[in-house]
Symmetry: C2
């Protein structure tokens, strides 16, 4: 991942086009270092073209010095784009084309080796081939290929006619990948004068520009040519060691220093200014508790660890460490951080619309997303309306407003205004629907997630749960149900069986559940408890409440009971049913939505998180036409008077459209097929599966310190034995803390560049969870499994 | 603005570089139209280079036909970038360089003229000069220059070495501006084979690619050259009228048809799927009530008006009409829609981070924004903590949670748990803090903005208000205060005087206000009303409640009273003070924040809307260290347990940083200086001013149908006389409806391309408001003023 060394300043040199002087200007930078007795390394990972023109020879010829080392990994004679040159070579000499990961590892290893060789300030220049989007050997374009290493960049501008355009476009393509562009350098062309325009242009954008005289034309007499070239470099790299290319070198040194200083200052400044969500600042001890995220890519954060640079980290001296984002950034991450497809979707919506106000208006990104959600998404078959808001919590507030109104409009005559305020919801203990007060009031009041105004309204059942204990899939009953069943748990045949709700409807347990639910509701009514107006469920898995996998049959029974015990009834005959799929929806737990597994659809459902692929806030509340009609009237005051300024913002909607398109593709990918096959238990309903390996999961379930383990889709949950569990427990944290440390055990690391990685761990009391994206590489999943297994093997 | 005609298909031709064959391939497209007897127009607005090479001559020579018209507005001999060619010309021949707006008007007029001349399908190709980012005459790059016209685009790819890179980069620069790229066309080069790579690359992105043989080399014998060229074009434009360039022409025709069909279908589809915020769908009659926003730029939406294409709109036959976004897209718009600086800020944060989880972590965009807000922004001098959330409503929920906890932790011993749930806020009637239930509960219960669970907690004063009536600045008292003062209104000297709170503290009115407030609070206490725990104010202007300008002296008195009547006390001695600056903050009403005008700072404040420049949702709740400390503990459960998945998302924070930087620049701009000068009343505190002209405002205040008018900063409010006012009134709507119609009165239009524009009007019952961005062109403001004046002159 990102390479950043205290003493080794690394810059990659990108070109705005081919033949713009990348090698000459890099040579000048290299010679500047050498002239100041600064050790300098020059790496051209891939080189194409005839040998006597080859760029690294050029450097050697004119920059020779014992302070200089030059290197090239892949050299091809063909004067063509690297992907073609490699292909020619494959055809002609059967030379295999190395994969991106192989080349990145070479570069990363080389940088580590350079860093290991020096003890004071040194420089490494990595020169790319062609333009920013020229294809590399594998065909990935350079800008995307180099992104995992996240090196600060010098862009060599194009001095030719048309070069203003290619320089600016190249710069923008680098920005879209998040690169830090420290400088633009280019030749002066006295006719086209691009440097004049570009100096102003980039100054307005805070980017340093330096322009230099172009090299003399090639002289037919070789010795004269050498003399002219020497003279040229002397002018570029003057003896005063101040002007010419030294201005650029000094600027790059300053950028490097500033970046280090900024990273070092960030923890303190953060502790002084930021009020974190869900954090007890009183428990934050010092700067070392702050994770400085310098960038992120794919499934990894690239983090700076204050005060750790002295510790010789095995295998890498980079100050930035790849950390596996094992909570998928609060369960949002879908296709990896910094994915250019999502960035470009965001940028194009921003460029076309910015944000445009939504009431009584429409725009393509919102309309397409709404249609996608109701016709081919979680609303298929039951929903036909989409209400947009900004996050899961607001999406749930909208859902609650919808359900309450639908209920009161149906039972309106008998409900007084003050009674409306006390209407309750039916739900499950451990549920969580967000942190705005309305969403909180739909959850039980517990010690955490509370606030002065929190006033829980409703009744919450303690649910039976599904887990794997000692290789067995077990349904554990709460005491009330255990009394009825005569046992506190049920051993099932397999995970597939446990989630085959259709078949289990015919078991006596279903009748027991239904009777228990009905009886409890009856007794609530008899006791004169406030009316219940909606059933609110996180289907299958309750997240923030402790990663509780609820027995799906119980949730099905709840829906059936509140719908009047008529399983075929899809309308809200009793009270509306809300599915909060903010966490579980859109394949997070291996299925698009949970309705088909449960065999029932909700009247209202909420999606967020994965919806925008892990990029920007957006929520969608889906509703059936029955619900929508409850608000229809000639009176404005009876409308659903809810809205946020950025409702249906074009960026969010367009990013969602792109993310859903990418997920469609993933659904048929080989990785998914492989994972699904592993979990196929032969049951009729083979719809539950996981990205985590079943043998690994079984193995963990036998660990003594582990009470229970469970997995679906991206989610792996390990519940530790702990006398006093719950949110304030620290047992999971204690058991797994070593995962936070970098390990280099000699095994190849799946992280970009093969660098040793750590795990950015999040725990909920005695529960630890690990979460992949929807496209996490199996190699990373296997590697994490191995670490967990090895760590817990002694517990 | 966007040009879209039913019968005239227009495409602009952008080049991935100079000399990539734009003219030849455009010529082929032109000839394809002519070959099919389709009238075709070719426009090269700006042409540089020697005349015998000039691109339009090329088209004439080989595409001559009476179905073809070619045109060029600006021709320069110098073979250089247009900005230099124009500059040479200025130096040599004193030829003035036309401004962007002039050139855009020429193009737009030409397109209108073409459209007027044809009655069936025709084509217009607009060929640009150089690459996508080559500077135009004024120096604006092409991609930005052409953006206001939003023409669908054909990108001519670069077949040369390095051309893959420049083609992809150019494409990305077009995407960043939101352009619709219908096709990429390029020459086949048998050595570099760029077309092969690009065909796959763009196919994956859903973009059509066609490649063609390059032209033959120039033959020394002129007649042979002509023969070869003719033969070449014959192959490009074959006689079967199916292959070659016809495949592109057919594809472009299909794109045009699809776009029209989509625009036509969008209203119906929207009515079938979308549940709008704050809209009574029962009052939506049919498709004509749906505003289809095809794109947006600067202060304008570009909208499609279904069923209106038959109406001969004065001056333009474009199906898309520029509409002034007169509510600044729900008060968010700051620097105009689709601003590339904000897009690039969003893209670079997306590329570098995506979204990364925030608890116990930090990243530069969030940290810089937090520091900016507390050290140099609305928190300066009192706040030192920033808590991020997703919108104004969640920001206010956070603020309320903070205030309630701060209050109870200070008075904790005597407040029971059930009493905590009933704690109230002190506020003003007409206030609005968002639509989540907690934010709603801080507002009075009225007929609108309500929900079953809404349970208003607190006490709300009816406020004295500021308005301009018949050229006089008047403070109007509610009856309770009028009784004390002995008059129902106060005529003031000027707006500057009314807002000079410092001086007015010494007037008897301040004492009256303070006494009235104190007495009311005392009586509430005596009546045993629930305790009040926070003062919650929208300073100066209450937005959604009806654009009510509150007498600032009254708000100051409220703060002073709850702080124990000690005006110098900045700490929350009585109860914490929350400023909801979601709407009024960050210069929306002409000042950065309202504290300095009121002479007091809050303990908590909330910013959103303008914060992200009108692009994406983000809110910041600022707090003083006293408030922060109320949550500090060793117990996790006592923390502020609030958070949203995308808390402090990097895109939002980086866009905010960029927006605030742009606002800093605007603060010293000439437009702002000019506006401020007009409003300078000579009072000591000249801090109130408006983008609207004082004479215009005074004029409107004398209109009979107008009860009151008022303005600050971007906001202009006109309150119409109406027996039954309020949110459900329609008087403003009725009076101003004609503004929705396109007007072409012969006066030059300030809209891009000089096209006639309409006004996208939002009203709140009997109140109409108009809102500019922070950088709206004075020409547009004057034009809107003129329309309003003329419309109301008869009322």
């Amino acid at each position: 991942m990102s390479l950043l060394h205290k003493h080794l300043r690394i810059h990659q040199i990108f070109g705005a086009n081919t033949d713009v002087g990348k090698t000459i200007l890099t040579t000048a930078l290299v010679r500047a270092s050498a002239a100041r007795n600064t050790p300098v390394f020059y790496l051209k990972p891939i080189s194409t073209g005839r040998l006597d023109d080859a760029d690294d020879r050029h450097v050697e010829r004119y920059g020779a010095s014992d302070l200089l080392e030059t290197h090239c990994f892949y050299r091809y004679d063909a004067p063509a784009s690297p992907h073609l040159a490699a292909w020619f070579s494959l055809v002609l000499t059967k030379q295999q084309i190395p994969g991106d990961e192989t080349v990145l590892r070479s570069i990363s290893k080389y940088a580590q080796r350079c860093a290991a060789r020096i003890s004071e300030q040194a420089h490494l220049y990595v020169e790319t081939a062609g333009g920013v989007h020229s294809p590399t050997l594998s065909g990935t374009t350079h800008a995307d290929f180099y992104r995992p290493l996240f090196l600060p960049t010098v862009l060599v501008g194009d001095p030719k006619l048309g070069g203003i355009s290619s320089t600016i476009s190249s710069y923008e393509s680098l920005l879209v990948r998040g690169y830090i562009v420290d400088a633009v350098v280019l030749f002066r062309d006295s006719h086209y004068r691009n440097w004049e325009y570009l100096t102003t242009y980039f100054a307005e954008r805070g980017v340093h520009v330096s322009a230099f005289d172009p090299p003399p034309p090639v002289h037919p007499e070789p010795s004269e040519n050498v003399r002219l070239t020497h003279a040229y470099y002397k002018a570029l790299v003057p003896q005063n060691k101040k002007d010419g290319i030294f201005t650029v070198a000094d600027h790059l040194d300053a950028c490097h220093k500033e970046r280090l200083a900024e990273l070092e200052s960030m923890p303190r400044r953060t502790l002084d200014t930021i009020w974190w969500p869900f954090v007890q600042h009183g428990l934050v001890q010092d700067e070392r508790d702050v994770t400085v995220i310098d960038s992120a890519y794919s499934d990894y954060f690239s983090t700076f660890r204050p005060g750790k640079e002295q510790v010789p980290t095995a295998g890498s001296s980079s100050l930035l460490v790849p950390e596996f984002d094992s909570s998928a950034s609060w369960w949002t991450q879908t296709v990896g951080h910094g994915h250019p497809s999502l960035t470009l979707a965001a940028a194009s919506a921003s460029g076309r619309y910015g944000h445009v106000m939504f009431p009584k208006a429409t725009h393509l990104p919102a309309l397409k997303l709404a249609e996608r959600l109701v016709h081919h998404g979680p609303g298929k078959g039951w929903a036909n309306r989409v209400f947009f808001s900004d996050n899961g919590s607001t999406g749930m507030e909208v859902a609650l407003k919808m359900a309450l109104r639908a209920y009161t409009s149906r039972h309106g005559e008998v409900i007084s205004k003050s009674e409306k305020k006390t209407l309750g919801v039916l739900g499950l203990k451990g549920s969580y629907h967000g942190d705005t007060l309305g969403a909180m009031d739909a959850c039980e009041e517990v010690d955490v997630y509370t606030s002065e105004w929190h006033n829980a309204k409703g009744y919450w059942f303690e649910p039976p749960t599904v887990g794997i204990r000692d290789r067995e899939v077990v349904i554990t009953f709460p005491s009330a149900i255990a009394d009825l069943v005569g046992s506190d748990r049920l051993l099932t045949k397999s995970l597939g069986w446990a989630y085959d709700v259709g078949s289990r409807l015919r078991t006596p347990l279903y009748q027991t559940y239904a009777m228990y639910i009905r009886r409890t509701l009856d007794s609530l009514g008899q006791r004169g408890a406030p009316k219940l107006a909606a059933l609110v469920l996180e289907p299958l898995l309750m997240g923030a409440g402790g990663m509780i996998f609820v027995d799906p049959l119980f949730q099905r029974a709840m829906v059936d009971v509140v719908r009047g015990l008529n399983p075929s009834e899809q309308d809200w005959s009793g009270m509306p049913v809300i599915f909060d799929e903010v966490f579980v929806g859109l394949n997070r737990i291996g299925m698009h939505s949970c309705g088909s597994l449960l065999g029932v659809n909700p009247d209202i459902s909420v999606n967020a998180k994965v919806l925008t692929g892990g990029l920007v806030p957006l929520a969608a509340t889906l509703a059936s036409e029955h619900i929508f009609n409850a608000f229809l009237s000639n009176e404005k005051g009876k409308a659903l008077l809810h809205g946020h300024s950025y409702t249906a913002h074009a960026i969010g909607c367009e990013v969602a459209n792109e993310a859903l398109k990418m997920i469609d593709k993933l659904e048929t990918s080989r990785d998914w097929q492989t994972a699904k096959k592993k979990w196929d238990s032969g049951e009729k309903d083979g719809s539950v599966w996981s990205f985590w390996d079943p043998q690994f999961v079984d193995g963990i379930s036998t660990v003594k310190a582990v009470e229970e383990v469970m997995t679906l889709g991206c989610v792996l949950v390990i519940k530790f034995r702990d006398a006093c569990g719950g949110y304030t427990s620290h047992s999971a944290e204690r058991a797994l803390a070593p995962l936070r440390e970098t390990i280099d055990d000699g095994r190849p690391s799946p992280a970009p560049g093969g660098l040793p990685y750590t795990i950015h761990l999040r725990t909920l009391g005695n529960v630890a969870y690990f979460m992949t994206s929807l496209n996490t590489a199996p190699s990373l999943v296997r590697s994490v499994e191995q670490r967990i297994s090895e760590l817990l093997s002694g517990c």
